[in-house]
């Protein structure tokens, strides 16, 4: 029942696209040949809808075949209404944005027109996505690594805490992009400048949370290690850091969110590539459908990254109550 509700919305959207006549004029829908197949924008849009519907259908089937626990099935079911609404919303958007052209153009293109950006501009979008990903990873990973190191030092040595904590707090309240002019002059390439900005903004939450985690380690746990003859080094790496892990991951998740913002802002303010850059160049040509395309790519990309962080977290923190099995 829930599956039917889930699928109905998307199928309705497909039917609307397929059978509702193109009333309005002036919508430029193109056709491309990809791998020997002729694909026009509408067909691409319908294929995406079909893919989404198929994904949900197969997912439900897998749940059924694997005899998944009721909790997962219920979770899937509880989203049905929302997914139905998404399908309807897409159908409406298609009607208003493409078929009837009621929405003001070129600011609010219909879904099929947005698909045109993917079909016609795929190579360029892909290139920029990779650039964004590369920039994101280099900044984020640097920030997280340096953040954990700083956090441990702050948490372990009172003297480091005294000198570094104020610096950390100040850097925390300043949006990282504000450093942009300095970063651009201090660093040889704009890529390294942006890496620096992203690193700073992920450094702050990770360092704060790590320090908090290390400091909150119960004294008794250190004492246990000491009765085993463990030295300081061992106590830091085998007691303090594992204890801080849940908080470190809270910091990392926050850092990821901060980093996305900084990434896109930095790209819009002066990078030779990336999704932010793509948005900027498209805007100059009033190609708003490309802006939407870039937004969709960002949404997908960032969701994937957050899911990846989540997966690592679930593995590392598998010892926690409720996470296990």
């Amino acid at each position: 029942m829930n599956l039917i509700l889930t699928l109905t919305g998307f199928i309705l959207a497909i039917l609307v696209n397929l059978f509702f006549p193109q009333v309005a004029e002036g919508v430029k829908l193109k056709s491309y040949t990809i791998g020997g197949f002729a694909i026009d924008d509408n067909l691409a849009y319908r294929l995406v809808l079909l893919a989404i519907a198929l994904y949900y259908g197969i997912y439900r089937l897998v749940l059924f075949v694997k005899k998944a626990n009721q909790e997962k099935i219920d979770k899937f079911g509880s989203r049905a209404k929302f997914r139905f609404a998404i399908g309807i919303a897409l159908a409406l958007w298609d009607l208003l944005g493409t078929k009837l052209l009621v929405l003001p153009q070129p600011f609010f293109p219909g879904p099929a027109v947005i698909m045109d950006a993917f079909l016609g501009d795929m190579a360029f979008i892909w290139k920029n996505t990779l650039y964004s990903l590369r920039l994101f990873l280099s900044g984020f990973v640097t920030g997280v690594v340096v953040g954990i190191a700083t956090g441990v030092l702050i948490g372990w040595y009172p003297r480091v805490r005294y000198w570094i904590t104020p610096v950390l707090n100040i850097s925390g309240v300043i949006p990282a992009v504000a450093w942009m002019p300095f970063a651009l002059t201090l660093f040889p390439t704009s890529f390294s400048a942006a890496t620096f900005l992203i690193a700073i903004c992920s450094w702050f939450p990770v360092a704060t949370m790590t320090a908090e985690g290390v400091q909150s380690t119960p004294k008794a746990q250190f004492e246990v290690a000491r009765t085993f003859g463990a030295g300081q080094f061992y106590q830091v790496f085998h007691v303090a850091i594992p204890h801080a892990m849940p908080r470190i991951f809270t910091g990392i998740t926050t850092a990821a969110a901060f980093s996305f913002t900084t990434l896109v802002m930095a790209e819009m303010m002066g990078q030779p590539g990336g999704l932010g850059y793509y948005i900027n160049t498209s805007k100059v040509w009033s190609a708003y459908y490309k802006v939407f395309a870039a937004i969709i790519v960002m949404a997908v990309l960032f969701t994937v990254i957050l899911k990846a962080v989540d997966a690592v977290q679930n593995y590392v923190l598998r010892w926690q109550k409720g996470v296990v099995r």
Binding site: Q221, T227, F228, G229, W319
Partner: protein, 265 residues
């Protein structure tokens, strides 16, 4: 039991005092002139109400706390800091929640860098404490009694000369408590490890110890050392048991009547 012990003194506590400064800045004497010798292989219980300084004394022996006045000697050597020679079992077990049962037990070996040559002993200990099959479980997946068994195994795997037990059974129900008490007796019989147990449970002290050190609070002093001449395993309802029990109860009442006569009617 005392007869078969060679009367070698493993631990000597001489004129130990300990004062703490309370939040108001007043000095508070927690231990006052403590003198005690422990023989090799002996089981000693330190019995007293809370606040009598028994845990403080145990922490001094462990080296978790500094001796201010007097001295504590293990094998003739002054105690300075912690050492795996003196194993310590904490009140709440204090397992590391991020390590599996197996890794918790192995931690002492790993911390000293002797894990490789002793790897097989981890499994031996797991079997010995009856936790076979739980090797890969995390601490939150096992019961409190199991956790205490792991805590004891974790300390014993380092082959300590002295095992210090800080109310390890305090938070357990009486059935689990009895099981762990028996386990301690077995381990002691097998390894002949000297053990010092801090407890406020009279029956527990009677069931396990060769000698019971009775402490009274404010300031913490040793008021009496009772020898229990009874074979192990002991019968909890035996006449010796009941007689000693009555004696200890009497001591505590006596101690109270001296300190706070206004409660006596």
């Amino acid at each position: 039991m005392t007869d078969i012990l060679d009367k070698e003194k493993i631990l000597k506590i001489r004129e130990v005092n300990r004062t703490f400064i309370d939040p108001n800045g007043n000095e508070k004497r927690v231990l006052d002139n403590i003198n005690l010798s422990v023989f090799r292989g002996e089981f000693i219980s330190i019995l007293g109400s809370s606040g009598c300084g028994k845990t403080t004394l145990l922490r001094l022996i462990a080296g978790l706390d500094q001796v201010q006045e007097g001295k504590i000697l293990l094998d003739g050597e002054r105690i300075k800091g912690t050492d795996p020679k003196r194993g310590y079992v904490f009140q709440q077990g204090c397992l590391f929640p991020w390590l599996t049962i197996e890794d918790n037990i192995a931690m002492g070996l790993k911390a000293r860098g002797v894990y490789k040559q002793n790897k097989h002993r981890v499994q031996e200990f797991i079997d010995k404490i009856g936790l076979t099959g739980f090797e890969k479980n995390f601490p939150h997946q096992i019961s409190g009694g199991m956790a205490q068994r792991v805590a004891i195994a974790r300390a014993l795997i380092n082959d300590p000369e002295l095992l210090l037990l800080d109310e390890p059974m305090g938070a357990l129900d009486s059935f689990t408590r009895a099981e762990i008490q028996n386990m301690l007796l077995d381990l002691r019989k097998e390894r002949n490890t000297t053990m010092i147990l801090v407890t406020h449970d009279i029956d527990e002290a009677l069931y396990l110890s060769d000698r019971i050190v009775i402490m009274t609070p404010r300031p913490g002093r040793i008021s009496e050392v009772l020898e229990i001449h009874d074979e192990f395993p002991r019968e909890r309802g035996s006449s010796v048991f009941l007689e000693k029990r009555a004696k200890i109860l009497e001591r505590f009442k006596l101690a109270r009547s001296v300190r706070q006569p206004e409660y006596m009617i």
